[in-house]
Symmetry: C2
Subunit: 421 residues, 2 copies
């Protein structure tokens, strides 16, 4: 087991051991946000036939070649075609057909003249100008052609892809599985949110914030409960999590002498890859694998620190990218912004700090400010923070007015209060 890794080394270790999950077929409506395992090819031409882009008259362009205001051409109004209808018969020379938007062009016709471009309407229609061949016609297959790959493997399914799958007649689609994440917390002082908090007991809130972090990353949390501070209790809960793709435990705040998470994990066959990352908050992070898991069970295993902020920050940096990778995503990390430091920040050189900051737009600049109590026990600082400022390991001061990089937690910061037009 390695120890004292940099955050970058720790993340590289996690991702090098993180598989991309296998495929499952889901109803298209349930596939929103998921990632395609295989390409989707079209089984049909769309549109299915040449059709009109306008309300007007289907014509043969050759018939109108000589048309002019001085010498208009009259064509016989032969029939009408509406969307969903099938033309009665081919269009003969000297004829035109009334056609509505989306309606298929009759055989023989090649162009459409818009309703507003003709002079009069009756049993015969008068045209005052020629029409370019193909005008206002949507060609069969201009959206999709039979056999053509429409959505590549790896595509994330959004609203347009959902509509496209419907248009292609697909009911099911093969996507990467969502990671199942078993969550547990440990500590004699912990109770559930509706539990008795007398005698200094506190709620196992980490499990709830981590379950929400799972959902936000598209994973399925399964909360196993609170392990009491005995190796037996812990082993029982950990065993219940072995069938998951990821197992995440957070200690209670007690991590001292009675921290037997690691021995129990090792007893269950977990190979610990590293312990301890040069970051604050979050140093005492553990990561391990079950390389020869019973019956193929081998959850990635994260032991997160017990302080509420440490648990959330280490989840963000290491668990979230792993969950996204498992589900087939390629952009695994939160958006980053270059910001102006709003007030001088100081620390000892050595560990990388993730400083909770608020963000404020000032013209083209974004100013980041640290605030209030940065103790890793103060969950409220995570509620108030919009971003984590990266205070590099080797730095001991970030002067006011200098540049820094933040990792955006609150994506609504990018949403606009004003429309784009």
């Amino acid at each position: 087991m390695r120890t004292g890794l940099t955050p970058a080394e720790a993340l590289a270790s996690v991702l090098s051991h993180t598989p991309v999950l296998a495929s499952e077929r889901v109803e298209c409506a349930a596939a929103l946000g998921r990632v395609l395992v295989e390409p989707v090819a079209s089984g049909r031409d769309l549109p299915p036939s040449d059709n009109s882009a306008m309300d007007g008259f289907a014509v043969r362009a050759a018939d109108l070649e000589q048309a002019s205001p001085d010498s208009p051409v009259e064509l016989k109004l032969a029939f009408e075609i509406h969307a969903g209808g099938i033309p009665e018969r081919p269009l003969e020379a000297g004829e035109c057909a009334r056609i509505l938007t989306g309606a298929p062009l009759p055989e023989g016709a090649d162009s459409v003249v818009r309703q507003e471009d003709i002079e009069a309407e009756g049993p015969r229609v008068r045209f005052q100008q020629p029409v370019p061949n193909g005008e206002h016609v949507r060609r069969r297959g201009e959206d999709t052609r039979v056999g053509e790959t429409i959505l590549e493997a790896g595509t994330r399914i959004g609203a347009a892809e959902t509509g496209m799958l419907a248009a292609l007649g697909r009911s099911y689609v093969a996507v990467h599985r969502q990671p199942r994440v078993a969550i547990l917390s440990g500590g004699d002082e912990l109770v559930e949110p509706d539990g008795d908090v007398s005698g200094g007991r506190i709620v196992s809130s980490n499990s709830y914030s981590m379950a929400a972090q799972c959902r936000l990353a598209g994973a399925i949390p399964q909360y196993l409960g609170i392990a009491r501070d005995s190796p037996e209790a812990l082993e029982e809960l950990l065993r219940a999590g072995l069938a998951s793709d990821v197992l995440v435990s957070s200690a209670g705040v007690s991590v001292g002498d009675r921290d037997f998470v690691r021995p129990v994990l090792e007893k269950l066959g977990c190979r610990l890859e590293f312990w301890g990352v040069q970051m604050k908050p979050g140093y005492p992070l553990t990561f391990g694998l079950f390389p020869e898991g019973t019956s193929g069970l081998n959850p990635l295993t994260f032991g997160l620190p017990g302080n509420p902020v440490s648990a959330m920050v280490t989840f963000e940096q290491f668990v979230r990218p792993a969950l996204l990778h498992m589900a087939g995503h390629t952009a695994l990390h939160r958006p980053t912004l270059d910001v102006t430091v709003g007030e001088t920040l100081r620390k000892k050189a050595g560990r990388l700090h993730f400083v909770r900051v608020t963000l404020e737009r000032r013209g083209k600049e974004v100013v980041a400010r640290s605030f209030g109590n940065q103790s890793s026990g103060v969950l409220r600082s995570m509620c108030d923070a919009q971003a984590l400022l990266i205070f590099p390991a080797e730095a001991s001061e970030l002067p006011r007015g200098g540049r820094a990089r933040v990792q955006l937690l609150d994506e609504t910061f990018l949403a606009s209060r004003q429309p784009a037009f």
Copy 2:
């Protein structure tokens, strides 16, 4: 009814008629992404008592005032306290107590000396230096205090807020209702995705892309089905949607002579606010209200154009902001980016164009490129587009290398492929 509005006028009209929905109480786990109707106050102090931030020894700082390497002070090791435990008795002068992270400080103690800062351990513990009063102690209530407002009304519930609600012992929370959106499409040429597409019929794919757009905006879609091209069929479906908060219809591609959506809406009591917006795609957008709706039913009513791209673009610009406003959000609009135009774009002055573009990072710049077939019938262009470029109404050319603004549809464009550290 007004007609020919600019997009900004149309959006202002929509939002001026859009209510913020009332409150409902939901389980906290289901509240992720929702917006608080009322502030959340703390019913408890967190932490519930002064407690240790470290593994070490609880002491009275006064006892160590004279400690130095030359003249260490020895204190009697009186008892031990672990997290979730209650101190046996107060700490007397001349005593220390072994304490684990998170454990409550015994009465009498005021400071904690870290385990690594003492010289030796036994029945008596030797200290070589003074300790600042309060060192390594987390104060009762430093995270939350009884009666204090912790989360303001209007807060969007994320992972940290979910953890905080658990920590406060909340099981339910009052949030704005999610808008219910009735969706229907109309046209004799339309079939469901598993339907028979012979004879030029096409799938009612707009309903599926719009349902996904609803979900992405946090709303609940209800798909009513396809209305055939008769006033009676349309009226029946529209009536089924009157109990929703929003009613969205998209025509089939047929919108010509047989467009009786408006008369049927008016028959049902809908007051049409506007028809026709100076934009492309999407001109034939209709918006109306039911000002005196039967039994208080008054869905906002959008009649979207039938072309797949027009339907999606008008939904993005007008329906999505309305849905977010209804649910209590304040940032209603997609993120915008200033970009470099990758190739010269031209159009007639008059209408604002939403040009589907791909984005490419080039150093600090983002280059936007129009591509392929920009026909409003080509849904694939929405699959491939990462953003909509705003080509202003009065402009007729955006030269290559010039600046423009885009509205970001694919938010993963902002996600990072590299970690922030």
